[in-house]
């Protein structure tokens, strides 16, 4: 975070330079046409001022060819801008498979960040350099927006629904995190820091902070709420097994087919009757978990997905 006057934003992600190419190209187009129009206006205003000796013979009141030309030129430029902008937009909407997950809960007026491998932070998020980071976002109250200008990324944070964003930091340093969607009284104070660290420093930082990874905290929740009692994976269980959940396609009681994701898990915890897997009774009670707790549980479920589907691979203390 520089405190000096600047005209151009810092480029601190792999994507920033790519966007700047497009942006400065558009600046070029804008400057060219603004100058063109201004020069034409000034030239005509001087050359054809009343009393000047310029010829006014054969005035033209329209010229179809000319008008189609100056409709076509902007059209072509627009299409190039559309194509270029869309290609980059698709890129930032599709995180690479090896991205590290971070979870962020926004509320009036703070950012609660949960690192997949450890510490929960307030208004700060530490990330390693040269590593793709996927941030999953949710709000506890109104709409916020997660905006890191140095990375050129922004994503609104909605209550009740997950959104996500990804970036690959390229330069160690501290960068602004702004809330960009007006969210009430202290909107302008809802600012945070993204701290990009060298990988080894990041590893040392994780070590030093010595906190439990989200998945471990999730496992504790899993135990506390006895999720395994019904979702352990035995045929006699009341609920579908949770290991391997994110790699399956489930059919719902109403015939809807879906690939369970974060949003589905969240809904199943808060309103279990909403979408029940076919073959099971709607008997699960609702659990009032906080958004952070849901993130932790999901982080734990992700580790289950990575294992084989048998229930005996669950941690010993969970199996009956």
């Amino acid at each position: 975070m520089e405190h000096e006057f600047q005209l151009f934003p810092e480029q601190a992600s792999s994507y920033a330079a790519k966007l700047d190419w497009l942006y400065y190209s558009l600046v070029g187009v804008a400057v060219f046409f603004t100058f063109l129009i201004c020069v034409l206006i000034l030239t005509f205003a001087i050359k054809y001022r009343r009393g000047s000796r310029a010829s006014r013979g054969n005035p033209s009141n329209g010229n179809l060819k000319l008008e189609f030309t100056w409709a076509l030129i902007p059209f072509v430029i627009m299409m190039i801008s559309f194509g270029w902008g869309t290609r980059l937009f698709m890129e930032i909407n599709r995180p690479p498979a090896d991205a590290i997950d971070m979870y962020v809960v926004a509320k009036q007026w703070m950012w609660k960040c949960q690192n997949q491998n450890g510490k929960g932070e307030i208004n700060e998020l530490h990330v390693p350099v040269e590593t793709p980071i996927r941030v999953t976002l949710i709000s506890e109250d109104v709409i916020h927006s997660f905006f890191v200008p140095a990375f050129r990324v922004k994503q609104d944070v909605l209550p009740g629904r997950y959104t996500s964003i990804w970036f690959r930091p390229t330069k160690p340093g501290t960068y602004h995190l702004f809330c960009a969607e007006y969210c009430g009284t202290s909107h302008a104070a809802m600012r945070g820091k993204i701290v990009v660290m060298e990988r080894h420093e990041y590893a040392a930082w994780l070590e030093r902070e010595g906190t439990t990874p989200a998945s471990v905290q999730g496992r504790l929740l899993f135990e506390r709420f006895k999720c395994g009692d019904c979702h352990g994976g035995d045929a006699s269980d009341d609920g579908p097994m949770l290991s391997g959940l994110f790699r399956r396609t489930e059919t719902m009681r109403d015939g809807e087919r879906l690939e369970p994701d974060l949003g589905y898990v969240r809904q199943s915890i808060l309103e279990p009757q909403a979408r029940v897997v076919a073959g099971y009774q709607p008997v699960m009670p609702a659990f009032q978990l906080s958004e952070e707790q849901i993130f932790q549980l999901v982080a734990y479920l992700e580790t289950l997905s990575a294992q084989t589907l048998k229930s005996n691979t669950l941690p010993e203390e969970l199996s009956r």
Binding site: I41, A45, R56, N61, I73, M78, D156
Partner: protein, 559 residues
């Protein structure tokens, strides 16, 4: 012009009692009522801007607390959008001129016209009530669930004010459309209509089709606020993005309500001061309609980062790009109109040329916003603030002031002082650019809009912007002063001081209550100007002047 004895009968001196104004169904008097009310709102809205620009001189919040700051920008937005920009050109100049331009005695529904002013005023009273009863802090966009659940300010009073005012725009739009269809003078075909009428026709279309959707969205916010019925708040089972879809379905077309009538004014002014027929009449006329229709299909470009589907974003981006085409056509055609003209640079022309430059910049930066990836960076930053001020202030307010100066002699029978007019037009142009140009840079640097405090590195640009705003403020006060002055002390204008074409200039200034003593018959195209004739006449004047000088010189020698 020398008049002996009683002044000729006109709409201003027909009756002096206040009732004759408050219950007048004369479209010209209703236009004056609107002129007075929107001027009041413009200066209230401007005062809020002065306050928050002062606050933004420093990165810390040292002038007002954040709650007050939020209420200031909210009131600025609500007042300027709903109570100044939307009614500005249509309700003042449109009301005054449309019947006269098409050769009619009044609008099709004179009583509805008066009613729409009353509805507007009642809506205005509610909004002012919201302001004095503690204010509103949702932003003029009323995004849910903040507005429907979380804000504990006078949201409903303000929303009710906007809801009510909406009906006045619907009635005005209806009136203009029916009038244009049914009341044109003999010989006034569609393609002889002044482009001002075309652009107000396109505007009316948006007012009629769009405004009800805004009314519905605000009503739904009220239902959720009062009855806790889940529509937008996910905690109650609603969807917060639904509001954005509904709101922008109106409010994006509403942006075109705030620019199309301005484009109409520019076409009138440029042709008159270039003494040329407008270049490509049909292209300009149809581009207004194209903008009005396309405007209904682009609302999703306000939501590229909202969490709507990526593919929806692509479709909206594509259609938004198309809007650039009719806009570009207009700019090129106006510029081409100057070619081989006989140009003079009186105040209205300065405003019109300023408009073209600023609208071009506003339009081109619109392309940045329509480009998906660029919008991700600049959405909800000062870039957007700068962009829409270039369109709405650089465009619409410049056009409105240009129009007021152009038709002031017709409306009041007086001339404003030309020198002051030019000075303030130049001041507004420079003040405007100094205010808003730095905001483009701030936006790409990442300064979010609606920020009460900000990181220190943004201060220099913010100070520049505030300095420009003070210049702009003075620029707006000067015309207020000299226009009022001219009512009493201005030179008598005569019927047609600009030697302009168009039916409104064929009647007396100020016009009689019935507009025309005899219904005009139209026999020529719109803008039948000739630069060559204008030059020839100018030569005659110059020679006459030279002869006068010679005579003077001779008589001096004789002495």
């Amino acid at each position: 012009m020398i008049t002996l004895g009683r002044k000729p009968h006109n709409y201003l001196n027909a009756n002096y009692s206040p009732w004759s104004w408050l219950f007048s169904t004369d479209h010209k008097r209703v236009a004056i009522l609107y002129l007075i009310s929107i001027t009041l709102f413009f200066f209230v809205g401007g005062a809020t801007a002065v306050l928050f620009r002062l606050e933004l001189m420093t990165p810390r919040g040292d002038l007002v607390i954040s709650e007050t700051y939020n209420k200031l920008f909210t009131m600025h937005g609500i007042i300027m959008v709903f109570f100044f920009l939307i009614p500005s050109i249509p309700a003042v100049l449109g009301n005054f001129l449309i019947p006269m331009m098409i050769g009619a005695r009044d609008l099709a529904f004179p009583k509805l016209n008066l009613l729409s002013w009353y509805i507007y005023s009642i809506g205005g009273v509610f909004t002012i009530a919201a302001l004095v009863s503690g204010g509103v802090d949702t932003g003029w966009t009323f995004y849910t669930p903040y507005s429907s659940t979380y804000s504990n300010t006078a949201v409903m009073t303000a929303a009710l004010g906007i809801f009510i005012t909406g009906f006045s725009s619907i009635l005005t739009g209806l009136n203009f459309m029916v009038t244009t269809h049914t009341m044109r003078a003999p010989g006034m075909h569609w393609f002889r209509l002044p482009l001002f009428v075309w652009s107000n026709y396109a505007t009316s279309l948006i007012m009629i089709l769009g405004t009800p959707v805004l009314a519905i969205s605000l009503l739904l916010v009220a239902v959720e606020r009062f009855f806790r019925m889940g529509i937008f708040d996910p905690k109650l089972g609603g969807d917060p993005l639904l509001f954005q879809h509904l709101f922008w379905f109106y409010s994006h077309p509403a942006v075109y309500i705030m620019i199309l009538p301005g484009m109409g004014v520019i076409s009138e002014v440029i042709t008159c001061f270039a003494r040329k027929r407008v270049f490509g009449y049909e292209f300009i006329a149809f581009s207004s309609l194209a903008i009005a229709v396309l405007g209904f299909l682009v609302w999703g470009h306000h939501m590229f980062v909202s969490g709507q589907s990526m593919y929806a974003g692509m479709v909206f981006s594509f259609i938004s790009m198309l809007v650039a085409v009719p806009s570009a056509i207009k700019v090129f055609n106006w510029t081409a109109t100057l070619y081989k003209g006989s140009i003079t640079l009186q105040t209205p022309m300065l405003y019109a040329l300023g408009f073209i430059g600023l609208f071009t910049m506003g339009g081109l930066t619109g392309v940045f916003l329509a480009t998906l990836a660029v919008d991700v960076q600049v959405h909800d930053t000062y870039f957007v603030v700068a962009h829409f001020h270039y369109i709405m202030v650089g465009g619409m307010v410049m056009a409105y002031l240009g129009g007021i100066h152009f038709w002031w002699p017709k409306m009041t029978g007086r001339l404003y002082p030309e020198w002051w007019g030019r000075v303030s037009a130049a001041m507004i142009f420079f003040g405007f650019n100094l205010t808003f140009y730095p905001q483009f840079i701030l936006g790409y640097l990442g300064m979010p809009r609606r920020y009460h405090t900000y990181p220190e590195e943004f201060q220099v640009l913010n100070v520049m912007s505030s300095a420009g705003a003070s210049l702009l403020g003075v620029g707006y006060l000067i015309p207020l002063g000299y226009l009022l002055w001219s009512l009493r002390y201005g030179r008598a204008a005569g019927d047609n001081p600009w030697r302009a074409k168009g039916l409104e200039w064929t009647t007396t200034s100020p016009p009689p209550t019935e507009n025309f003593h005899v219904t005009p018959v139209v026999t020529e195209e719109a803008y039948a100007y000739s630069a060559e004739e204008s030059e020839a006449e100018y030569q005659r004047q110059v020679e006459e002047f030279a002869r006068g000088e010679e005579t003077l010189e001779e008589s001096r020698r004789e002495l």
